[in-house]
């Protein structure tokens, strides 16, 4: 009876094992600040990567940075075609009308342009800082996820600031949740 109670206690304790606290590191670069930044599109084009990019963009905007969204700025004048089709059916006892409107907008956004044009466009817009957001799973036991936000100067690629957070995660957690938590942790640790 006593052994069973002991085992039950151990099992309950094991379920409640606390995770390690997050490890946060920050680095400050040169003193000169940047004002207008663009978040560089990463090779990883998944929804998770785009989601954490948007998270960081919102946070930086709140801190006073002027964030340029390369996905929302047209690189050239875009062509818009709108087609409206209305069909009236009078064959039945009552007249019915069906309407379809199709809008097509064609043309490159800044995130679609070649690397040399992008560089020229960023300079023309006065973008003086580039932001990179990264998340990575670390193999080991317990599993960990690391996220980093790094701001560099456009002119010479020198560091403005960077922040990194490593968190312990459960194997049952979803990858996108882990990435988001790690990025939020890194942002919380970033210098104000």
């Amino acid at each position: 009876m006593r052994r069973a109670a002991l085992l039950a206690t151990l099992a309950t304790a094991a379920c409640g094992v606390e995770k390690m606290p997050p490890i946060v590191m920050q680095r400050q670069g040169a003193a000169a600040a940047v004002k207008r930044v663009a978040i560089l599109p990463a090779e990883c084009g998944t929804t998770v990567c785009k989601g954490v990019d948007a998270l960081v963009a919102a946070d930086l905007a709140f801190r006073g940075y002027d964030v340029v969204d390369l996905d929302r700025l047209a690189a050239i004048e875009r062509r818009r075609t709108e087609v409206q089709v209305s069909v009236q059916d009078t064959s039945g006892p009552a007249m019915t009308t069906t309407s379809t409107r199709t809008v097509t907008v064609t043309g490159a956004m800044l995130s679609d342009v070649d690397v040399w044009s992008l560089r020229a466009e960023l300079a023309a817009m006065g973008v003086d800082g580039l932001v990179r957001v990264r998340t990575a799973e670390l193999e080991g036991w317990p599993e960990r996820v690391e996220a980093m936000v790094r701001v560099t100067r456009t002119a010479d690629a020198s560091l403005v600031w960077s922040t990194l957070c490593e968190i312990e995660v459960s194997v049952l957690d979803l990858a996108n949740e882990n990435a988001e938590r790690a990025v939020r942790c890194a942002l919380a640790g970033a210098a104000r």
Partner: protein, 221 residues
Amino acid sequence: MRGLAVLPLALAGCMQAAPHAIVQVPPGEEYAAGAVLVMPTTCVPDGVDPVLCSPAAVTVGQPQPLTPWPTSYAPWIDPTLRLKLEFAGYTLAEGAAMRLETGERTDGQTVTDGSSYSTTTVTAGPTVADLQPGDVRVVAKSLGLGGVVTSTFTISPAGFGEIRADLVVTLWDVDSSAARWIVRCGERMYGYRETPLRLATCVGNGVLAALAPDNLIGEAL
């Protein structure tokens, strides 16, 4: 009762030891930071079936994992490696994200009696990662990038039917084409997902230990 104590120890003994990094870094700060071009990890089958270079292919016919495995090791190796390289002080331009030609984007929206759906298509075009090494250096130079980082994941026989994997990451100087530093980690293939992730962490920590030891979390090498 003693058996219970021995069992966890025996199980712990079965765990594969963490790989160690072999770091070749010349003295001096000249190549310890700056903007560099980074290429996706490539896999080289050295005396083994080339199918082993595609995680998705090696699991054909087996129960599929919750997240489908990729067709190359790059999606597992590159995120960790790049994160560590950037925290070591490098600013990375990602070759596979750098277009050589402007893509054509078409955004469409159709509204029919109140219901609507929208689509977006962007034409795929060649990127810097598709170029030959000589052309990559030309592009890097034109963008003012001082180096090119390459990453090679080599799978080779390890005897007794086993295989081993080695990850070698090199920073090449754009002007001279000489290797400025090389970091290598290798181990017996513990798992098709686990080993690439462990080796990426090992190489990344090797770079951090050599170039920015203050930024290292946990064990150095």
